[in-house]
Symmetry: C2
Subunit: 322 residues, 2 copies
């Protein structure tokens, strides 16, 4: 397991079995086929499966058949079902294809890793999270180019199998993404700050603006529209990701609350917003100026490779090739 892996196109260019054909899974099936992979999909409801077949893809509603084929062809299995469906799907994976490399595309990695461990699938599992999406959902909203130029987190834990990591990273690269390595816990802490917190701030802005009545809403322009945009996301999706990451989100929310409470005090006492406004400007500039450097010198499977990858990710590194 800990032998260095020599990566070649042949060794990793394996079939892909996509479980769940919604926006992300459906886009992934398209992208994998476009990259020249053999790929097939499963969806619980026949609607998406039929749409996929009508669009020329190999798809069906028989989970056992999809997984038995994955075992026969040594496919990478991608779990792309909504969070509530995770457990029954993992149960079938453990029964039909326990030896396959397994990944997922769910936005909170700690909860998925726990579920995978419960089902005894950790040895071949590598968590994944493509940072891409739209407000739409379903097979028809999918797009084979959805992941092009996006960041795809591929989780590297100390017990991750190097060959499995390489296969999952190769799939993300084949879909046109850059790979950022991270541990599940630090991924969840990061997305609490840059994805789940902005959702809660957007909700609070939307409510406070509407409390100003139709006059306030009629005057709302760019800063309101951008600041509250994601409050238009379906509440179920927002709740699912925020609540699955409650612990890390609480930490991020507390930091934002402290900043805003300090600003409120300064505004009321000295009439100044200097501290928050100057810090916010510097922070946003730091994002805009971020240099995403290429990770090129880490041999996957060499001693300490996972920690080396995580460390590079923490310092803003990304893989564009293997």
């Amino acid at each position: 397991m800990c032998q260095p892996v020599r990566v070649s196109a042949e060794s990793t260019d394996r079939p892909v079995c996509v479980l769940g054909l919604g926006l992300i899974g459906g886009s992934l099936l398209r992208a994998a086929v476009a990259a020249g992979r053999t790929a097939w999909g499963y969806n619980r409801s026949a609607i998406a499966a039929d749409e996929a077949v009508a669009d020329g893809f190999d798809a069906g509603t028989d989970l056992v058949a999809a997984l038995e084929r994955a075992r026969r062809e040594d496919a990478v299995v991608v779990v792309a079902v909504p969070e509530p469906a995770l457990d029954p799907v993992l149960e079938q994976v453990a029964r039909c294809a326990p030896g396959c490399v397994l990944t997922d595309v769910v936005s909170v990695k700690g909860a998925v890793l726990d579920a995978v461990r419960r089902h005894g699938l950790a040895a071949r599992f590598v968590g994944g999270h493509p940072m891409a999406g739209t407000a739409q959902s379903g097979w028809s909203a999918g797009d084979g180019d959805l992941f092009r130029g996006a960041v795809w987190v591929v989780a590297a834990e100390d017990d991750t199998a190097p060959e499995a990591w390489t296969r999952v990273a190769r799939l993300a690269l084949d879909c046109g993404s850059v790979v950022v390595p991270a541990g599940a816990a630090e991924h969840d802490q990061a997305v609490a700050r840059i994805s789940h917190l902005p959702h809660l701030l957007a909700e609070a802005l939307a409510v406070t603006a509407a409390s100003g009545g139709d006059l306030a809403l009629a005057l709302a322009a760019g800063s309101y529209r951008d600041g509250s945009r994601v409050a238009g996301t379906a509440p179920g999706l927002v709740r699912a990701m925020c609540e699955a990451n409650a612990q890390a989100l609480t930490v991020a929310l507390d930091e934002a609350l402290a900043l805003l409470t300090d600003a409120r005090r300064a505004l009321a006492t000295s009439g100044s917003t200097e501290a928050l406004v100057e810090a916010g400007y510097r922070a946003r500039r730091r994002h805009d100026d971020l240099d995403r450097w290429d990770i090129t010198d880490i041999e996957i499977g060499a001693p300490g490779w996972a920690e080396a990858l995580r460390d590079a990710g923490r310092r803003g590194g990304a893989l564009r090739a293997l």
Copy 2:
């Protein structure tokens, strides 16, 4: 003063004197000329004035000459200087052109109204606020189409002169905007919610995200980018508008803090974000579904006209014509 005004193109199609040729003033000079008005501009620094002349506009650096011409030609005088320059400019207006209709384009209306009263100019003053802008500034960033389709608040106080109100509203309509009537105080309360609060939330998001280090910034995608976009605005501009509206902003900020504090408590105790997420979704939908209806039945100058306009504005009404 309280006689109903019969509005005709002839009676209102007056010259325009624009004081300050930055983004808003420069765009206004272009838009007024494009609408067929005689218009000229003043700017303290010669750079913008020279650029305007080079672009074929009538502009200079002599404030007294611009204002004496305004008095001779009975022009509408538009104050478009940065807030710190307000007092010296109003002093010259009071000296050279006290009888001209006077308006402004500053984003906080209460503070400007106070300054105008201090200079004894309230009788001919009508506050204005075009809800348009870009991240750029200066003459060269201006655009004669900047106000097209935008909302332009034209303040209606109980002591506003009907003829002056009509002239300022006509100018806003000539620039392609729709006119939303409001009192200065309720305008400031509204913009605290939809413009100044989103700036502070964006700053807090930017700082909290950056505290997650380069990994968090590398993963930042749409919800971070939109939510923190206005944190990239020059700090001086953000501070000027937030601090000039400190009282109303404190109220809005307290409401947002209460929502986020409640959400934090619910997340930590029950793991749920339902209350905030559902309320935010409904509020954003209310904005998206807002029906901006046309105000057509109010005669400017008839008894109670200003209150009738403000009431219509509160209920989402706007003027598209006079």
